[in-house]
Amino acid sequence: MGNLRDVLSPFTAWKHLIETPVTIRNPIGREAADGYRGFHQNDIEKCIGCGSCEVICQNAAIDMVPVSAPVDGDSGLRPKIDYGRCCWCALCVDVCMTGSLTMSNEYTWVDADPDAFRFIPGVDPKPWDDMEKGYRREGARVLTGAERVEMGELPPEARIDNFDEIVVGYTREQAMIEADRCVECGLCVATCPAHMDIPDYIAAIREGDYDLGLQILYETNPFSEVCGRVCTHKCETACAARHEGDPIAIRWLKRHIVDNVSEDRRLEIVGTPQALPTGRKVAIVGAGPAGLTAAYDLARQGHAVTVYEAQDKPGGMMRYGIPEYRLPYDALDRDIAVIAAQGVTIKTGVRIGREIAMDKLRGEFDAVVLSIGLHIGRSTRIPGTEGPGVEAAIDLLARITAGEEVPVPERVVVIGGGNVAMDIARSMARLQKRKHGAVGVTVTALEDFAHFLADREEIEESFDEGIEIVDARGPQEVVRYKSGKRKGAVKGLRTWAVTSIFDGQGRFAPQYDQGDERLHPADMVVEAIGQAADVSILGEDLTEALEWTRGRLAVDPAGRSSEPWLWAAGDAVHGPDVITAVADGHRVAASVGAMLMAMGEVAR
């Protein structure tokens, strides 16, 4: 038996009688901790509706419901949360690609109606919408990779005196890591002009199944090798990962797939047309991306396709506009080889309108597709542009590709801030380095760096290569020597500083600060401010018969002109890049194919 202490000591508990009670006076609605995981909040302006929250939710508590119209990079969907499912684990907050989804520290919600516990945070008003406290993700997004795998490049000193390809391409390991970052939301698909199945081929990389990846690429784009190098990758601007980190390197991943499938294997996978020959004939004018894509599609449908190309080699702007250091010719040749393998006849060195008239094509073929591109360089028409020493960028690029001799003076000034300006500047820099051992190129652009048209990496690489880029300069005059031995030769470009480019209505109307005038010394001025289509090939009668809008051939959404046998595609009607041209090619091919099919039905 216990002693007396054992009996008495329990009574010491009575001292609590005189202690202050620990009771919380008003427990209902007591504020939770600052970082409490309470009810959800969503900044719907910031949210892009990528649905990663839905994917990660293991309770199937989140539905994506339409709230606004979809636009590039925003599906218009917003998460609707079912509090009959939620477990407040906040993985949705942690995975949120934009950081829009958070949690308040509110926790009281009582209702007699079980169907009431569903709401769209940020859309359905709730008392906790504006609460400051609650769970926020600490630091950067960690559940999905935020940083892009850096792409290997030739260093400037190794690349400046040659036209070798700069970009090295990902190794398998690098590609795997980069592909792993994709959250497969698919927002990019709508933004891509050709609607490529981007998440699918990225998934194929993760699986290491390059054959499958290539197959997916070819479903939407026969120029994957080209696009894997020079695509303007609008998709990456819609990428969910860009909001808190770098967008997925979609372009490089595409290239990675093609790089990892041998040429023979590629021909094997793509195969030849499975459709029976239809006996229908289609003529395509211009072997650029739009024309060849249309040719590929139509050939796969079983039609006999003939492509006419004025230049010596097919490829159009891809060959004659894009410098070799960005797109090696053999890469382009490999893509074209697959298209040719579909039974497409490509006749090069044939200029329609000169050697063969359009009318003849009309007579010989069931349909004609015009994909002539933009091969005439526009001029600023400022004083001094007429005369020697002023060149159009597009002409120069084509001549460089063709292996012709081009003038390479020690000082060159380029007018323009787009990718073509960069292309010619960098090509000239290479030629200068070879010839003179030094780079002397200045690029003058209307836009300031914040609004530059050329890709950021183009600008950075240009700087690396020693090219001077002066932003916000408006060209006023090509100054020529008035006298002396070099009379009439180009002396330089006079520019004013730009204060604004567009007026209040958004029209192009540059304003200058005339006090800020500079003369950029030059021996040659290259204009790279845009191109135009050479529509003279149509001939007068046809030009007369067709409808036009603002100098461009008028076409319906499917690319058909006002003449039922004539379609137009590519830069000439839509612009401005390879992937848009590819998309255009598909569209036109579908329209042509439908027409041919209808003809077939009638004939039968």
Binding site: D82, G186, L187, R587
Partner: protein
């Protein structure tokens, strides 16, 4: 250390290769006929006196169940997982409740959740966790818990979700053009 033990035992029992996970944890395949003798030796000679757990893994593609006997030597703090494979079509295990009485509980669970029979194990056929279960043993891989749940218990209606990619394709490119 584990390797020494493995080399030592390999001479007398049909053992697979030793898969070392950590310095103090390894797994090894054991022929079913050798299991009991091996367990007894491990317990009585090598100090693996503690049965950490006994459970099964369903390798449905390979048509067999894996029984894992995780033995622990509490003095040396080493664990050895013994893997015994049973034919999935007629899974019968050997009871070890007389070696470790607590194994009877594990065996009851395996009987109920995987449908592995352990003849002779006490109360092995009694209901353990489930009650009135009429379907196949639920831990088997071919049992689809989601489908079962959807069939058996009703969801609250009115939920609909949209895939961002398909939704955008439908809204922005209704004709499905490429």
């Amino acid at each position: 250390m584990m390797r020494d033990l493995h080399d030592h035992l390999k001479t007398r029992y049909r053992l697979g290769d030793l898969a070392e996970r950590r310095a103090n944890l390894a797994f090894v395949d054991v022929a079913r006929a050798d299991l009991r003798a091996l367990l007894v030796e491990l317990r009585d000679v090598h100090g693996f006196t503690h049965l950490s757990l006994l459970t099964a893994v369903d390798w449905i593609e390979e048509g067999r169940f894996q029984l894992t006997y995780l033995m622990n030597n509490r003095t040396a703090n080493r664990s050895l997982g013994l893997r015994v494979f049973l034919d999935r079509a007629d899974p019968v295990g050997d009871t070890i409740h007389d070696l470790w009485p607590t194994a009877a509980t594990y065996q009851r669970e395996l009987r109920e959740m995987f449908g592995i029979a352990f003849p002779g194990s006490p109360r092995v056929d009694e209901e353990f966790i489930l009650e009135g279960w009429t379907d196949m043993p639920p831990y088997r891989r071919d049992f689809d818990t989601l489908a079962y749940s959807q069939q058996t218990f009703s969801d609250r209606e009115g939920r609909e979700t949209h895939d961002p990619r398909a939704h955008m394709a439908k809204k922005l490119n209704p004709e499905g053009q490429r």
